[in-house]
Symmetry: C3
Subunit: 665 residues, 3 copies
């Protein structure tokens, strides 16, 4: 049914040869290859083995490890080990350590114990990167590089003291030029917070009550830039020493600490770490609760996972080198794919039978070119002793390995996801939304996922892209929560609408100006002409307090109303102090929805999509359809067999629509 | 119906001209006047504009602002800007900063970032006060002064390090004279906590387990005295430089950090900041839960609000200068009245239509002579960007302004609240109660509000006054939770009873001696002769654990039993280990109730009030009646029309009983 | 019915003469004797009175106090006062203070404010112990000594800075010899955490994410050794200066901070502090919730209490001197027995009538030779002002005293508890289990109590003993949660099984190697040959997520499955991803249960006990049977009369089975 020679999904795993006796290396590499894996990511946290003492490098063990993979026919992804500076470096230079948001130094003894701003650490980061890249940069087994590991993990995006605190005023000076400009942009007159000297400015912590959100916003921008610069230094070294090899980074689920669009610049493609079950504990989909967490406890929720796939697929406007060099597929990877229980959530269930295969197929259908499982063998030591791998603690195969070995990637051909709908995402809006939520039930991610889940339940393929990306070619543009608006952004959206795209905006869109304050002209600031409305009032509703909306809908958590300035009324509030006021408007191809209501969001989206001529489905709960490279993957995330388009799909199973599935018996 | 020339309620607002372009000042002042406002409070946090650099004053902008209000016919309330010392002062003198109860310095970057004990800050506080008062003290537009802003807000009543820590031993020495006296008063022998040198004594934080409650009590007294002294220094300057103008301070809802009776001494009248909806999130009335928070989400609870009115009305034994100078009405003000959503609660709903008018009328009925709305225009910047005003972010009128402009204050004549019942309140009792609650369901405020709400549901007007105030003239005295008893206090109560007043005491009354320990003779210490009982046992009950009380009542959370020493039994316990023991007693005009039970409290109060010859009502849920200056204001706080005394009152509406309401259509 | 001259339970109390006027001492001692008490524990926190200033001892008051007890015929237990170093010592040597797990110095002002590692404090501890022991060591009234008070209370087992931090590297060096050994044992290669110098090692706090569990484990071992050494220094002084007197310590309920087996070495017998009602708030029995907390609110739960009795009874392999010198009964004591409400739980109810007597009888039935009530008179001062005593605040008898005075200890003869079942307990397993619970619903204690409660509900007397104790003589050995396995331990268990004992292991048994990691060979490591199974998978289940187990059972929170290597299947999983896999196995006399299910645990235990020939009961909820010295104590912990073995037992009452109870009317 499929051509095995066509480029298709490849598999890999994350391996740590330094965690097991060397006598096992050759057989482990061979078993990986035998299981159908093509890549092994290694050396991720091995600095103390590469350089046991200052300046004393030990490459012998790593030479032998790389050779073992090479001999087995595996390609190796090497990591710069900078997520774990060794004890000798930290004790010699404690100024490398970061500070938490309580002002405390974050100690050595786990990982990510460094401040991105530390000049000392910057030098050591480049030094160890260079040493590693010079040694292995041109080795035939080396396919590419991963920088560091999971920027921002454990709240490490920002350091609130030490090197970062010292560098902040300089960054502000470069941004604003004068203190008058800064004081004006931040609105520091508000509580006499005006600065008269750059040196007076500190990180926004330990203030008597909440700090200025503009202060918080700029600290987030500053910290994000530090990560970008830190990585760029490593990338430059890797480009120099390892030509023709890709450079990437493994990002995280819903990580909010930095602007991923800016940090990813300069990479060839991005990768992310997909842990569906742990994710479900921390990021529940909207409109749900404990019942839903139970229903998806063994599979994770499809939309939480695919949202991240779609976001990372759209992170780079134009990818570079591919997985096997120039001209090879350069789609994103799942660098770490859960293949058994994790250890870091309050509860860490065993995945349902079939879930590892389902996750793999879904990743492909949303654009992944490689899925790499974490990890080969469960660690018998240290922080992750309870975490599973493809092999158990005793080295025997675990259930995940059985599913991986049985997975046939041949039908999973590389190619495009045919999305006609763009969902706009913006980290600055995320920061501003979450620093002043005003309604404790809502967050940026919750609001965004409400729109995303509605789209997915209608069978729509979605590109999640930057709110500043080129929008040409999209039939529908959804801006669920882009609360920060710039004139340039507004102009780009207007241009897209003029070109025929439909635009739908969610609550709080364009409430904020770039400095972080509200627009003096009120919401929607520079977007007003396009949407044809102004904000009238916004209501924040405690759980149990709802407002009727015409058409039989019910707003919860948030309700904003509008004055018409060119738009027409679509829905109005029918209860509460906003009764009779406007909840949903439309001006030409532009729709604004001010009521937070998952059902209303889906209803309005349905109309917009239909008018745009898109084919809509009405998918049952737990069934999802994803399209890529001419194929349609039907996924059943429930515990029961479902029938879709005439085909039965078993529990936690998938199939290629219209074709007899290769992966099913 | 009413004589418009008689003194009546006046309105005002809080304005921040420095937050908007100067081009708007004149029109804003005129619009305020047109909306019926008489006062504008300004310059509250404007230190960095008054003195942009050390010693460099800039009055030009403020001169023009004051003139703008003056030209429009508004009177101005000026504020000392000491709640927000500017960055240049803090960075030059970091010793001004306070310390939190975790021992951390509280940083610059918001407001209230100072330690009341700092000698450096004390000097600067007087200096800026003098400079401001010399400039504007005799300006015809200046009606009076507000000191600082909201003492104690954000937990700033106490600093646990720095200047306060240094001053504490001296305060103790002045209070106790000798260490033997201090060790004895605190009971320091208990865990070998005896001090042998004054310098050994620190603030009561970071101890291995809880600190000595006597230590906590004296730290609260000490900190309260610091606030009193800090303000007194400003008041002295203002008296000197601004003769004939009132001096006040804007206190807060249920603020517990200092002894308001002592801090208010020397002011002309007090004001407070009334935010009914935010208040409801943090201070739910007793016997309630989520259902009640939903019911009153858009109005706030009437008793939470009026309790604060009644407390602040009774804060000063004898007010001084009035709102427009000597001889003018000198009742309390609401200095900041919510007029739309706030931004600082977990949920911040839009008020119900009519709520702003209802709050205004209620404030008057409980004694307010001025109601001043916060704020004129919603800030477009900084920490309060989500907070509403009378104008929206875009400068257009919001709903609150419509209600304010339509409000006719003429019938709201100034005059007395005819209260025959005194409810006794005591900050030292509050501190002792809450530092050792013994039953997590109860607090001082909860217990006090249980008695207050019972009184209000019976249609009773209440004076909330200091437990040490002169009690002559009251028919009934209610002491819900005066747990600290002194011989002087006991004598004063006995004198009132002898003079014919009835007294009712709640659980834990007179359990504590002035040092903070229990009376060696047991509860009720020096009050025993008057009440005629001694404590037998006290029981602390987890939610769901209740005790039957004779008459069909049920104690929850707390049950104490008594031995009779002259009193008679009124109610007994009928279940649990206290079964058969005495729950409520009476000796002559003195009743003691030991069971926490809202229904029993109301039942017993009913009898006491009836015997005292007071007229009682049986008000439906959400209906309240308040009397002032010969009028009776009927308030409907529910979402449905109710009929009271033959008159229909619409949802969230009020009327003057017996008269056709001026404010209703 | 009983011989009053036979050795039987004696009673006592805790008294603080320094808390009351000296004029009361003689009468208080006489009243204690009149109430049937034999012992008074004194001088527990009296350092500031013994030594008011450095080196100035004041013994006069204590001389008179000891004489007062002596004159009344009471024996005195003296305490070293080291739980409360006085202010002068702390301010002179702040390096004595400990640090909390947030890195903050723990201040003076309550108790236990010292670091066990402080060399300065060690010297002062020995000095004050010697001074006290020299003064009173041979006094005829002195029966024995209590060291310090409640080691570990308020989280003081470990100090995370200062002296402890400084001592840790040396302890590690002594344990491991080389850094290679340490790095290997901890698995420090995992995240490049390898140390190259001993001085690089710090306490395991403030790390960016969780520290290495091996690091945590060794810090717990190290801190435990410090406590052992600290106490041993005092014991040596007491042995030298007070020959023939016992030395003990009062341990706490479920205290987990140190290895009690090691710390107790060198004591004559142990004592513990039994607060059944406060305990219930913090340590609910398994499988329960709010309903059960309400049901036992006035009595405490029998199994929580008796578990601690059984644990402390088995703490010392061979006790030394007895309560009245050599050859006298040397069973454990309850040093502090609740006799009214405590003050330290969120809710502090009054005990049910009869509860104090019931607790006393139960303590005896589980092996206590002395029960000593806390405290004689309720303190009128300081931190425990809300805590009750046998006397009230006013010096009058409280309910507890009535029950104590009525209690006839004559039938409570000293002697053996005839336990045939050993439940194995291990502090290192506790630490490892709890540092990586993997399922938030479970803890070491919860799992252990599930097995213990099942045994007690079957009427079984249980010895709770160290997992390394000699096991000869036991018919059944239960290892509920011994997750750390050593080859020596495995060998000892195998020997016991070979000798005919039955062994039952719970989930996670033998998962860990001594370093803290998993066994490279997988669970069960060196125990595998004995149990005949290997671990297959472990599942962590959120509340509401359960797995069917054959026989009609349901696993919750945890489910592990096995591969058979010699064992036979007893139960299998019937739902979820482990469906069809093995849940319970048996190999000869060895049973392994991998599913957490209280009902299944009881079912399997029932079979094992029955096969071992033990007599089983089926006790109703709240009824317990305990045997000692030939008697059987039947206890009714419910609020209703129950009938057991033909005898009616009233609510909160007990009787001696087969005999008419002495204590009942």
């Amino acid at each position: 049914m499929s051509d095995p020679s066509a480029p298709h999904l490849l598999l890999g795993c994350c391996d740590y040869p330094e965690h097991v006796p060397e006598t096992l290396w050759a057989s482990y590499a061979q078993r990986q290859r035998a299981a159908g894996l093509s890549f092994s990511r290694i050396a991720e946290f091995a600095w103390s083995r590469m350089e046991p003492r200052p300046g004393e490098y030990d490459w012998a063990w790593l030479d032998r490890a790389v050779e073992a993979y090479h001999a087995a026919g595996l390609r190796v992804v090497l990591c710069t080990p900078t997520a774990t500076p060794p004890a000798w470096l930290i004790r010699a230079h404690p100024e490398i350590l970061a500070y938490d948001d309580q002002g405390r130094m974050r100690e050595f003894g786990s990982r990510r114990h460094y401040d991105f701003a530390s000049p000392v650490y910057r030098a050591h980061s480049q030094r160890i990167t260079r040493a590693l890249a010079e040694r292995y940069g041109k080795h035939p087994a080396v396919a590419g590089w991963q920088t560091d590991n999971e920027f921002g993990c454990h709240g490490t995006s920002r350091s609130y003291g030490g090197a970062s605190a010292a560098a902040f005023p300089g960054w502000l000076r470069a941004r604003y030029g004068t203190l008058d400009a800064l004081n004006g942009a931040w609105g520091n007159v508000f509580w006499s917070m005006e600065y008269s000297d750059w040196s007076q400015i500190r990180p926004p912590i330990l203030t008597v009550t909440e700090p200025n959100p503009a202060h918080v916003l700029d600290y987030a921008r500053f910290s994000s830039d530090l990560i970008r610069d830190f990585q760029a230094e490593q990338v430059a070294v890797l480009r120099e020493c390892s030509p023709g090899r890709f450079v990437t980074h493994n990002f995280m689920i819903f990580e909010s600490g930095f602007d991923h669009y800016r940090v990813a610049e300069g990479l060839d493609f991005v990768t992310w770490d997909n842990y569906p079950l742990g994710m479900l504990e921390f990021f529940a989909p909207p409109g749900t609760g404990e019942a839903l967490k139970l229903r998806y406890a063994g599979t994770g929720h499809p939309d939480l996972i695919s949202f991240n796939h779609d976001l990372y697929r759209g992170l780079l406007a134009s990818p570079g080198l591919g997985r096997e060099g120039p001209g090879t597929p350069n789609g994103f990877w799942v660098m770490e794919q859960q293949c058994g229980p994790v250890n870091w959530a309050p509860y860490n269930p065993v995945p349902e039978l079939g879930a590892v295969a389902l996750w793999t197929a879904q990743a492909w259908a949303h654009g992944a070119d490689v899925v790499s499982y974490f990890r080969w063998r469960a660690a018998t030591m240290a922080q992750e002793v309870m975490h599973s791998g493809l092999l158990r603690h005793d080295g025997e195969p675990d259930q995940g390995l059985a599913e991986v070995a049985a997975f046939d990637p041949a039908p999973c051909r590389t190619g495009e996801v045919p999305a006609r709908v763009a969902l706009l995402h913006d980290y600055e809006s995320l920061w501003l939304y979450d620093v002043q939520r005003h309604s404790a039930s809502l967050s940026y991610w919750t609001q965004v996922l409400t729109f995303y889940s509605a789209l997915r339940s209608l069978g729509i393929d979605v590109d999640v892209i930057s709110a500043d990306r080129d929008l040409s070619g999209y039939a529908v543009i959804v801006a669920p929560a882009v609360t920060l608006m710039t004139p340039e952004r507004a102009a780009r959206w207007a241009q897209a609408v003029e070109a025929g795209a439909r635009l739908m905006c969610g609550p709080r869109t364009a409430f904020r100006a770039p400095g972080g304050g509200a627009w003096e002209s009120g919401q929607f600031g520079p977007l007003q002409a396009l949407v044809g409305v102004k904000l009238r009032r916004y209501d924040s509703l405690r759980p149990g307090l709802t407002r009727q909306v015409s058409g039989g809908f019910e707003a919860e958590a948030w309700a904003e109303s509008y004055e018409l300035h060119g738009a027409e009324v679509q829905h109005t509030y029918e209860s509460g102090p906003l009764s009779g006021q406007v909840a949903v408007t439309r001006r030409g191809g532009v729709t604004v929805i001010g009521a937070y209501s998952p059902a209303l969001v889906r209803h309005v989206l349905h109309s917009v999509l239909q008018e745009a001529g898109l084919d809509l489905l009405d998918l049952p709960e737990g069934v999802r359809v994803s399209r890529r490279a001419g194929q349609t993957l039907v996924q059943n995330w429930t515990q029961d067999t479902v029938t879709w388009a005439g085909q039965a799909v078993g529990p936690v199973q998938f199939l290629f629509q219209g074709a007899r599935a290769d992966n099913l018996g």
